[in-house]
């Protein structure tokens, strides 16, 4: 049994006039000590999946099907008070932009202590000690002094470390990292990813790493889930998928990664744009953009099929050529 299990999760946006399915049939397991990378382009539903897991979908979005289990216990359908005790305590979240994720009016220490004492039975003094330890663990030098500084006194990379320390404050088993490196310089990105890997190992945490950058996933994740238009189209061990992508969309994404010594004059693109939720084409959502589409691709949405360790939602995976 995996630590975090997502089964057939569906999220709808329900307004008075219509109901739009934004996530459909999302199934994913994350074990303790494992990093699962979730990739896809903007609007594919990656962040929405993260928000659904922590129960912070913005209305009118709501979970309309499936189940999320944490350590065997279903957390879908829990009340707001119960969900609040899970957020930060059992599922930590790392936000994307460290420049806006911290309250500018409170010191880093105040924000950490407040989060710690909310979840753990500790005195303020003990919480402060833990806060300093967390800052040290996330790689902030002279943490004992820096704890009394305000967010604006930190650089972007350092602030992201503070954000990570805050996500870890309640000692969660699951960490959802939503684009944790997107807002950072490349050199800092590598450090933050290193930190994430180390924390996952040291805390034996299950990490869901949400990113649009396949390179980040290749470097960090044990397994990958590729999302397209609200569905997972391919999932499996990182090496297996990067070595031989079976879904044409995954293959397209990989061809779009620039590499050093690349002799192609232009990077490959996937023609067209991802359909919006509520305007999905009939059958396979990727069909209209797919170079290998066949007439039967428009029949019905393809069900995931197992190929070794990999699950692929494509009728003709043999037609996909590796880059």
């Amino acid at each position: 049994m995996a630590l975090l299990e997502i089964r057939d999760l569906a999220v709808d946006f329900v307004t008075r006039r219509r109901r739009v399915r934004a996530l459909d049939g999302i199934s994913l397991d994350i074990d303790a000590g494992e990093i699962v990378g979730m990739v896809g382009e903007s609007g594919a539903g990656k962040s929405l999946t993260g928000a659904a897991v922590i129960g912070l979908l913005v209305p009118p979005g709501r979970i309309s099907g499936g189940e999320i289990r944490l350590d065997g216990q279903a957390i879908t359908g829990l009340g707001e008070a119960a969900m609040r005790r899970i957020r930060g305590r059992r599922i930590g979240t790392i936000f994307q932009d460290p420049l806006t994720a911290l309250n500018p009016l409170l010191t880093v220490g105040e924000q950490l202590v407040e989060t710690i004492t909310t979840h753990l039975p500790m005195s303020r003094a003990a919480a402060r000690k833990r806060a300093i330890a967390l800052l040290e663990e996330t790689g902030i030098p002279s943490a004992g002094r820096r704890i009394d500084h305000y967010p604006h006194q930190f650089s972007g990379g350092m602030r992201q470390r503070v954000v990570i320390a805050l996500a870890l404050a309640g000692d969660p088993q699951v960490i959802i990292a939503d684009e944790p490196t997107t807002a950072l310089d490349v050199s800092v990105q590598a450090q933050i990813l290193d930190l994430l890997r180390r924390l996952c190992r040291d805390h034996d945490a299950a990490v869901l790493l949400i990113t649009h950058d396949l390179g980040v996933v290749a470097e960090t994740a044990d397994r990958v889930a590729v999302m397209y238009a609200g569905r997972i189209v391919e999932t499996g061990p990182t090496a297996a998928i990067m070595g031989r992508p079976r879904h044409p969309y995954t293959a397209g994404l990989m061809r779009a990664i620039p590499t050093v010594g690349d002799l192609r004059p232009r990077l490959a693109q996937i023609g067209g744009a991802m359909p919006r939720p509520g305007a999905l084409p009939h059958g396979c959502a990727f069909g209209p953009r797919c170079p290998a589409a066949r007439p039967d691709c428009t029949a019905a949405a393809p069900v995931p099929i197992r190929h070794g360790d990999v699950l692929v939602a494509c009728r003709h995976p043999d037609l996909t050529e590796a880059a």
Binding site: R87, N103, L105, D185
Partner: protein, 330 residues
């Protein structure tokens, strides 16, 4: 930060000089004080004597400098109507206006901020919607109308509360306060509400708008994602950040409460500066008008300074003398 303070002080001085110039021009060109004092039939000799006594025979800039010097010492001359020193008249009236204004401002803040927070948190629902509608009424209702309405209902029809004056006061040195007697409080209720309602509605809507804005920010979402209790999310994180613009407006509004207490004071015959001013306008009592103008300007300038200091207390980024975010990198 010192530089910041020095700059703000300098601006304050400039503003006061400009206002004093306007007050002085008012002095010289609105009405003719000599005619006012001696009447139409005075002889030329009498007129010259009085003009000399008032310093009106000097060149304009000398008169202005003298006016400045005296004003700096709190000397605005004598009231043309009452014949008493203006400073003394104002000092008598100041406590009434200040107490009324503080009561109104306190009411507006203590009621307006919580209601603003509430309507921002529970956006739908009957209570929030009714509050918003009522606040719109509060903003649009003219003060004099509200005052008369309150008098009609609570003084005339129900007979619960007095409709004019300050009631019993107690002297604390030269300051006569109505805060220490039950009668004083009873007299404060109706004019206080009249003066507060517009401000209350304004504060409510402003707090609501700012709260809604702040609740959309990442750090509030992050605070939620960390499982903080709703009270901590709303008050520690959202409200504190929403307060910056609210403090500005409340500060400036405190100035206008004092300045525009005039209408409420007139309706309720409240013996404050506003009523004094309204009466001096009728008589073209220029020294009183000029002094009132300068005093109100001083109030505004002082409040502005205090607001700026309040920023420093609220926002740590300003204490470091910079608002820009730092560069990326470790």
């Amino acid at each position: 930060m010192l530089l910041y303070l020095a700059r703000r002080l300098f601006q304050a001085v400039v503003v006061m000089l400009v206002v004093s110039l306007i007050a002085f021009v008012l002095f010289r060109f609105v009405g003719d004080p000599v005619t006012q004092m001696l009447g139409q039939d005075a002889t030329a000799a009498d007129r010259a004597r009085v003009a000399a006594a008032l310093g009106l025979d000097q060149p304009a800039y000398i008169q202005y400098l003298r006016f400045l010097e005296q004003a700096a010492h709190g000397d605005f001359g004598r009231s043309l109507k009452l014949g008493r020193p203006v400073a003394e008249l104002l000092a008598e009236r100041v406590p009434a206006t200040i107490e009324l204004s503080l009561f109104a401002a306190g009411l507006a803040i203590l009621v307006g901020v919580p209601l603003g927070v509430r309507t921002a948190i529970v956006r739908r629902g009957l209570v929030s919607r009714s509050l918003l509608t009522l606040s719109l009424v509060g903003i649009s209702l003219p003060t004099f109308f509200l005052g008369v309405l309150l008098i009609l209902v609570f003084s005339v029809t129900l007979g619960w509360l007095p409709s004019y004056g300050r009631g019993d006061t107690v002297a604390l040195g030269w300051w006569r306060t109505g805060f220490l007697t039950v009668d004083g409080w009873r007299h404060l209720v109706l004019p206080g509400i009249t003066l507060a309602l517009f401000q209350l509605a304004l504060v409510l809507r402003l707090v609501r708008a700012e709260m809604l804005e702040v609740m959309r920010t990442d750090f509030v979402k992050f605070a939620r994602a960390r499982g903080l209790k709703p009270a901590a999310v709303y008050f520690r994180h959202a409200l504190r950040n929403a307060l910056m613009p609210v403090v500005t407006i409340i500060g400036l509004q405190l100035g206008s409460i004092i300045a525009f207490a005039l209408i409420t004071e007139t309706v309720f015959q409240w013996p404050g500066m506003g009523l004094l001013f309204a009466q001096s306008v009728a008589f073209a009592d220029v020294p009183v008008m000029a002094a009132y103008l300068c005093l109100i300007a001083l109030v505004f300038v002082t409040i502005n300074l205090v607001v700026d200091l309040a920023y420093l207390a609220i926002d740590p980024r300003l204490r470091d003398g910079r608002l820009t975010t730092s560069v990326k990198g470790t």
